[in-house]
């Protein structure tokens, strides 16, 4: 286990070093997408009706929480694919447990959220967010999102190695799902957007944890159901991943 985690951590470090070696801002680039999205949402949100007059504080906290949780989920899902792409010759030439890639993706996502967490805490203190027991569910939310992200990575990584369509589609799909999930806006009561929110399964994954920072308690039954669902999905995903990833590796470079 120690060697497994060390190998995963080595992959993450290698990736960070390669990514940030010739940059002036270094890890600050982690914050740029988050700050950009939040700034844009705050600037145009009122005109678009994303939040009502005088509720920008709650909206900002909810948006920050939502985007960070979404980024955690998306990183856990997509980071193994990026790592696999950047380490494709290692995959073709070195005998190692391919689950290291999944672990490395999850570690990378956790590091990213750990770097951003002070921003969220600072915002919560600045806006005097209520300190409630609801915050105790935050680690559960993180674990559920990591598990579901890993399961999605299990199901898509072998495909992305073998078929480039999957690799090209993933960023688009990720942004489409982000917009289809009520993070930038509250889910409306009717209309096509409400229908999209209802059809999108990630709505049910994100929404219970979105309002934690504002002191809203999540539905315990729904959260427990999510935990069980995430565990099952991860188990199925791992089965598929183990069966297919070494078949897919043969297509790297072809």
């Amino acid at each position: 286990m120690k060697a497994f985690l060390l190998a995963a951590w080595s992959l993450v470090l290698r990736d960070y070093r390669v990514r940030f070696r010739r940059t002036l801002l270094g890890v600050v680039w982690f914050f740029v997408p988050l700050f950009t999205l939040v700034s844009v949402a705050l600037l145009v949100g009122k005109d678009l009706g994303l939040y009502p007059e005088g509720q920008s504080r709650d909206y900002l906290l909810r948006l920050l929480t939502g985007l960070m949780l979404w980024q955690l989920f998306a990183d856990t899902w997509l980071e193994p694919m990026r790592l696999a792409r950047r380490a494709n010759m290692l995959l073709r030439s070195v005998v190692f447990d391919a689950r290291i890639l999944l672990a490395a993706g999850a570690i990378s996502a956790v590091v990213a959220i750990a770097l951003k967490l002070p921003v969220l805490l600072a915002a919560a203190i600045w806006f005097q967010a209520p300190l409630s027991v609801a915050l105790g569910w935050f680690p559960v939310g993180i674990c559920v999102l990591i598990a579901i992200g890993m399961a999605m990575a299990c199901l898509t990584l072998p495909l992305s190695l073998a078929l480039l369509d999957v690799r090209y589609a993933m960023p688009v799909v990720q942004y489409a799902l982000l917009l289809a999930t009520p993070i930038f806006y509250a889910s409306p009561d009717s209309g096509p957007l409400q229908w999209i929110n209802q059809v999108n399964p990630f709505t049910y994954v994100m929404v219970p944890f979105l309002d934690l920072m504002t002191g809203t308690m999540p539905d315990v039954t729904a959260v427990l159901g999510l935990v069980v669902l995430a565990a099952c999905l991860l188990w199925l995903g791992l089965l598929y991943y183990q069966a297919k990833v070494r078949l897919a590796v043969a297509y790297i470079g072809r």
Partner: protein
Amino acid sequence: MMERPDIVLELDQVGRAFPRDVSDIPSAILREMLWPRSLLNRARPDTFPALQGISLQLQAGEKLGVIGGHRSGKSILAGIASGVFAPTQGRVTARGSRLLFGRPVAGFKLSLSLRENLAIRGALAGLSGEGLLKAVGSVLQENRIESGVADSPLGNLSPYLIRKLGMEMLLQIPADILVIDELVSAGAGDARWATRAALVDRLSRSTALIVSTNFEFLKEVAEQSMVLHQGRLYGPFQTGLAIEYYLGRSAPSGADSGGNSVPDLYSDQINSPDGEAEETLADMEAEPGEGQYPPEDPGLSDQDGEAFQRRSAKQALLPLVVATRIFVDGEEYERARLRLLRRPGEVLHVLVELLPRESFVCTGVSLSLHSGTGMEVGHGQSKVRAVALRRGTPGKLAFQVRIPDLPRNHYGLAMELVKEGGAGNFPGPPTKLVVFGLLTERPREAGMNLDCSCLTIESDLSHDASDAA
């Protein structure tokens, strides 16, 4: 599987199929990714077998060589044996950790330091803590790399040195089974000998499958070797003999002095039928008398080990039947000249005069079409009523094949006779028949299935399987 405790690596009927054209047939990839493995066993027209029916066992401490030509499937075999790739058919069982010894600088990033690159390779191979530090330190120390150099970006170092250091790092990684994929030395000048010696030393203490075309190295480290030809593995033979037959050289002395080359479907010209026939007839002279079927492998009665090995190697690499004369559209086909030009949709009427190399009951014919690069581009199979073919007794095979719509190229048509109760003429390779040029304007690449009809086969000896019974 692995009932014997001394077997540490076993490949059981392993196969790996790939889509014929990765870029044009994504559906084949999608099927491979989505379907359960049990449904991937069947051969399909849009896939070709890079490896088929590979079986081998490696005992603890054994060193087994594998020789093969370009595109014969060596690296895929090494990858599957080491666990880097997975097979689409069969099973690989290993008792112990495996290390693939190839591409020593794979995954190295020029922007990272030498120490970081070596450490990541060691960490992925399972080293950690003191073991990892010791391995990296040992490589740096033995090469007198100062810490300033070790911690500077890799791009400042010579590619030869990087490769040598990568190979030495691999030598530091502990593993129960080594799978060597062509890598036998690295570095420049005398350093190559040093790394080679270090590898030989490591091999002397290991169990290893050595996939290589470095024959001197193979002779030095492996007593026995197998020959990989067109995705099929033959042997094991003594390494010297395996190399000899791989290279197509004649035997140095003795009864088996006939010249035989490894059959090559990739070449534009087809082997001389006369040569094959002479060889087969020479073999027949040493056989038991007529009037009864000779044993399947007469070499089995030979007590002389080397002669037996020589004969086994030779026979394994020869087709099951020799085509002595071929008639295409009523005219005798001259193998030495590529004078057949055809268009898609036309029909080739082929009559083949056969000389079986062993006695068997034939129940069908499998035809395959190969492009100039050797890739199988078409396949078809037809059944016939069971016919007993006897070793050395001529027979005739007639069929028609419709030429598929393929790109303008030269194509070779080959056949395998299907034995009763078996698939193909394993262990022999296909018998090559004709090479023809294809004239086409707008190829649709639609001809994966060969349309074969009017198949008849007969033996001058008998006309019914009951004779064999």
